[in-house]
Amino acid sequence: MSSAPTFKYVEQGGASVLEAAGNWTVFSLRSLGRRHRHWHRTKVSTPQRRPQLIDITRVDHLDTAGVLELLHLAGGGQDADVRAREEGQADLFRVVQSHGVETPPEPHVDWLSHFLAEVGHGVLHIYRQIIALCAFFGETLVVAAGALTQPKRFRPAAIVRQMYDVWVKALVIVGVLCFLIGVVIAYQGVQQLRQFGAETFTVEAVGIGIFRELGVLLTAIIVAGRSGSAFTAQIGTMQVNQEVDAMRAMGLNPIEWLVLPRILALVISMPLLVFWGDMAGLLGGAVACSVYLDFTFVQFFARLRDTVGIWHFYTGMIKAPVFGMIIAAIGCFEGLQVRGSAESVGQLTTRSVVESIFFVIVLDAVFSIIFLLSGV
């Protein structure tokens, strides 16, 4: 059954003939050996030496790939005749011959121009992305402003449903991670401050660190990874299934139906989550201090009340809804950018998470400057 393909060039009555035998199928071709074939192909590249007849009477199995290889061995052979034992094989041969295609050229890559083109595309893409993002923000604000006059259009049911996903379901993970960060800061604080005999300042380190930056940043990063990506994937899949188009065709504005509830849900949920994360972080700090410093919880929280001003807490809470809005907006925006395929959903989900974390940190820096200038 599996006899390897063989071939030879012979002279018959002054004409050159290619004689083939064995199995010529896509599975057996490999045994011919690449260099061997290549050498023979170049040998018949001159028109005089090109076989006029291909004899396949001794071929057992033949398929299109086999015919293609035989034609190549005959130097192109668009006009070569075939001598076959079975009519079926001759038919197959002629079909391939008539669809004969030249070897498609090797895809040519010029590295420099490829690099320049990629950079150019990249820059143009960022430019278009910024324009589109601004347009998206504008449209969202217009829709939100329009909804102010008819509060029903805020669709409270959808908002509550989204809040369940982005707030309630995130409580455990946010709480656990913030608790652990509280423990870590307290432990590091005790270790470092002990060198100056100032280990009681660990309470300030934990309080200020968690309230001002870590609680809100950590929560924002978790939310970007879990909810921002989910928004992109949900809306992106709807885009692929043409559900968004169906909505538009029914006269429903996707911004109002898909985007606004998600943004509002996250704007409401973020401060709640950050508050929860702050408390978990403080608890972690308190637990660590009770272990390493022999502080009781009462001592820890009394010192916290006396030394850490309430504005440290406010600065974190002010940032929370803004971060929530930017994460939700980018998640929805990228979801609506999805075009065509499943691959696009994956790419844009990645981009959505990266961009929202990027913007969260940029905004955090902006907030730091604002708070520095305003002295809080």
Binding site: V26, L92, G340, S341
Partner: protein, 274 residues
């Protein structure tokens, strides 16, 4: 209750390429097919029809091994699929071509790369040969040569179906499965597609099992038709099925659409006869 099975023996000394014996499929307690007996012979085109929800696609998935049968045996190209594992299973799959309903082309690859995937996996040819084969298959299914460099998302629905057929043909399968190949094509495109399937079947010596709702395809392309009735399958030519006289079959072929397709086929035959 339909009795099922083959109405008239059409074997004519041909190899059996696909044989189902006493096959049952079910999801949970819900039995979809029961006691299916069905043979397909080398070189024939069989259409698989049935009302919505009778499990045409489920049967196709069961045959190609995506959905295990609860009972009975399925033999493809003389091999019992139940006992196949590992290498033997892969080598059997290399001899089957499947065109899924919506193409199922890998969206991250170009059309040519899509066709090269099974060749690379099963035949291990070098890059240049694979590109040649891919270009040939693209030409065989009647797509322009530059389609090879395009991504599936850049193609129209009809072109995607052809591209997906080209991928199914990549390894010159002996047995080709088509799931609703003409659904969603315009009548001209569907007619061309039918002719394409018929030509390829003749030229490449394929055996084809196609799930279809297209009555024109049934008349134009299929040698026999397998009808799913009351969880069983009844197989025969259209005339035999009409003679069999199950009410669903009669309504299917004698309904207004069925009559139109039949008379269209007669007109065409008369025209060709002149």
């Amino acid at each position: 209750m339909a009795e099922g099975g083959q109405l008239v023996d059409h074997r004519n000394d041909r190899d059996v390429v696909l044989s189902l014996r006493d096959v049952r499929t079910q999801f949970g307690d819900h039995v979809i097919h029961d006691r299916l007996d069905f043979d397909m012979f080398r070189g024939e085109v069989v259409g698989l029809v049935g009302g919505s929800g009778t499990g045409k696609s489920v049967l196709l998935r069961t045959i190609i091994g995506l959905n295990p049968a609860r009972h009975g045996q399925i033999e493809i190209l003389g091999m019992n699929t139940r006992h196949l594992h590992g290498k033997a299973e892969r080598s059997l799959q290399a001899h089957l071509g499947v065109q899924f309903q919506d193409g199922a082309l890998f969206s991250s690859l170009t059309v040519a790369e899509n066709i090269m995937v099974p060749i690379r996996e099963h035949a291990g040819l070098d890059e240049e040969d694979m590109r040649c084969i891919a270009a040939l298959k693209i030409a065989l299914v009647g797509l322009p040569a530059d389609t090879g460099e395009k991504k599936p998302s850049e193609l129209s629905g009809g072109m995607r179906k052809r591209a997906s057929l080209a991928r199914a043909l990549a390894l010159d399968p002996e047995l080709l499965f088509l799931d609703e190949p003409t659904a969603g094509l315009d009548p001209i495109g569907a007619t061309h597609y039918d002719e394409l399937v018929r030509d390829l079947q003749r030229n490449l010596g394929l055996s084809v099992l196609m799930v279809t709702h297209d009555l024109d395809s049934l008349y134009a392309v299929c040698d026999r038709v397998a009808v799913l009735l009351d969880k069983r399958v009844v197989v025969g030519t259209i005339d035999e099925l009409l003679a069999y006289g199950h009410p669903w079959v009669l309504e299917y072929f004698r309904g207004p659409r069925g009559r139109a397709a039949a008379s269209g086929q007669e007109r065409k035959a008369a025209f060709n006869g002149k």
